[in-house]
Amino acid sequence: MSQGPVGALLKYLGRDPGHAGAHHWRAQRVSALALIPLTIWFLSALAWLPDFGFDTVHAWAATPWRAVLLSLLVFCIAWHSQLGMQVFIEDYVHGNVSRPLAVGVSTFAHVLLGAAGMSAALCVAFRG
């Protein structure tokens, strides 16, 4: 199969340099453990709110601790989701170019979503 410079680069970036699998496995468990208290906190807090209107939710989220916890929640979900989607893609997408390309697009989307969510959560509490 002939591949252009982009294909060669993707193939290079998609290689496992060694021990990445073990690190991936650990990270998926660590992020899962972190998500247990974070998601319980988040869902029970939402369940206790009287309504989901802007004033209620904004007043709830606008305290420093809740903003930090909310941004941590977004971070851990994005992290855990990226790791999981990588496994999913590597199991079902084959090909020297399409596989690293799919993993790359997924990772980029997760970084984007994570950064947007985290900064928005902090903005709610710390905007001057």
């Binding site: 899962a32 939710v57 909310l70």
Partner: protein, 145 residues
């Protein structure tokens, strides 16, 4: 690896042999067990929840952008197909959470016996039913104010 002559070893890796070689997992050789359904559901709910991350981030961004954009988000979320989708996401989350705890116990080397795995599968199904109903009632009873 003792494969005999070099010619025999080469033929193992020829294209035709590679194409026809048995691939793991051998899904068709297993007798069906309902624990399998739980296993594939973990993956399916995981992918669904990855898409749910988009909605979570949109919600937080809308909250940070002010009352006007937030109310537009609520308006979209209140549309009935979106409500169904949000409800399904909640159930998917409760499932992924409960079964994920089961996976963490397995990773710690606990509960791997067949009888134990079946019992924990039963607990997961019951827990998902109870917790999902409680959360759905708590969330869908509230209005957007």
């Amino acid at each position: 690896m003792a494969t005999g002559s070099g010619a025999a070893a080469a033929s193992i890796f020829s294209c035709k042999t590679m194409a026809n070689r048995p691939l793991s997992p051998h899904l068709t050789v297993y007798r069906f067990a309902y624990t399998m359904t739980l296993s594939i559901l973990h993956r399916i709910t995981g992918v669904a929840l990855a898409l749910g991350l988009i909605v979570l981030v949109l919600w937080v961004v809308a909250l940070a952008s002010g009352a006007e954009l937030y109310s537009r988000f609520l308006q979209c979320a209140g549309f009935w197909p979106c409500k169904v989708l949000l409800g399904l996401w909640l159930v998917a989350f409760v499932y992924h959470f409960s079964n994920g705890i089961r996976h963490l116990f397995w990773d710690a080397g606990k509960g791997l016996e067949r009888a134990q795995a079946r019992r924990s599968a039963f607990f997961v199904v019951i827990a998902v039913a109870v917790v999902s109903i409680l959360l759905l009632m708590a969330f869908f009873r509230k209005g957007a104010a």
